[in-house]
Amino acid sequence: MKNISWWKWLGVILIVYTFLAGMLVPLGHGIVEINPRSVKTGEQAQFTLVGYNSHYEQDKDGLRAWLKLDDEHAIGAKEIRVKGDRILELDFDIPAYLPVSKRVQDFSLILDSETDGTAVLPTAVLVTQDSIDEEKGVSAWKNSAITGLTVTTGMTFPFRAIIYETIRNTYFHVALWLSMMLLFIAAVVYSIRYVRDPQPIWDSKARAFTSVGLFFGILGLVTGMIWAAYTWGKPWSNDVKQITTAIALLVYLAYFILRSAFEDPEQKGRISAVYNIFAFVLLIPLIYVIPRMVDSLHPGAGGNPAFGSEDLDSTMRMVFYPAIIGWALIGAWIANLQYRMDAIREKWIENLD
């Protein structure tokens, strides 16, 4: 027990923490469905709402709801009837005009519950108007300010209503990609060291970290496909990030094919070290640049494919960042076993001569 380095234990502790916190912290109150999705101005609209992780029966008097355009334009619900812990009926008097000079405008629905906290459904309802009068609209939609929202702790219900509990995959799928990046960085550092000082240990360390990095990348791809099958509808949608990461993984796969082509260890080490540096240089545009330039199904499409504050709240960050470090340490452990094995072979061959 004592001869296991501290960082390996740290990796295990962080992953156990990730599993426990990642699975046990409950998801906040959310809105799953609202019906109808489109109404006309001047109507007395009645909506049926389905909630998630909600306890509306316990909270009959503490419920408030708004249709919201932006921070200044919103109307409150006239009446809210509780039909069950997860089902509500909402009555809204839609004003005669919209606060915009467009025929159709989408509004998000905000539901505040004193027991469960606040839930938001973006683009919940489309409102259509026949004639346009922005001024009248603005004054009508100013009628109720959204104040005193209940603040709750815990994981926020995901902003996109297709995600549900699968937001927890962030600690596995996303964290695996980021720790893959850390492992590839370690590999490229050892490759550079080998180029400067061709010791066999640098080559076997670079090889070990690259193999674990590639393994984490494949796991990232597989977990992403499972996740996509139940959120985007199919495992492979030719999304830009799916394609570019698949290319990046093929580039790294070629590293191992290249290695197997050389018999002489020095030649093998030198050429594969240089190739590894090139592969890393190629990885950056493939994973971080191209997906930002085009539309993607991944969060924050077109502009920023990374996670924003909408997707990752402060509770999740407390699990997500340790998860990245934990997976990277576990990966480093597997790499460690590999290069120690290589060192034994090296020593054995030396003793034979």
Binding site: N53, I163, E165, N169, F172, W227, Y230, Q338, W348, L352
Partner: protein, 74 residues
């Protein structure tokens, strides 16, 4: 071995989709707020780690055999 795991997984996914296509109620994977998708992801990660360990085990066995054979020759 890998092929068998892959085939059973794909078959499972396909079957569940076909069986529940007409139903309005969510299928097993989509029930309980799609929680089982997270379970599937964790199982996939674990199986991946096991496969990688098997590969490492094979390499280690090869090295052991090499050393062992050589010792016997001497």
């Amino acid at each position: 071995m890998k092929k068998i795991i892959f085939l059973t997984l794909t078959l499972n996914l396909l079957l569940s989709d076909v069986l529940f296509a007409q139903d309005r109620t969510p299928d097993f994977m989509r029930s309980v707020g799609k929680m089982y998708v997270v379970v599937a992801v964790i199982v996939a990660v674990f199986l991946g780690i096991v496969l990688f360990l098997t590969y490492l085990d094979k390499r280690l066995t090869r090295l052991e055999n090499q050393i062992h054979d050589n010792d016997q020759k001497q």
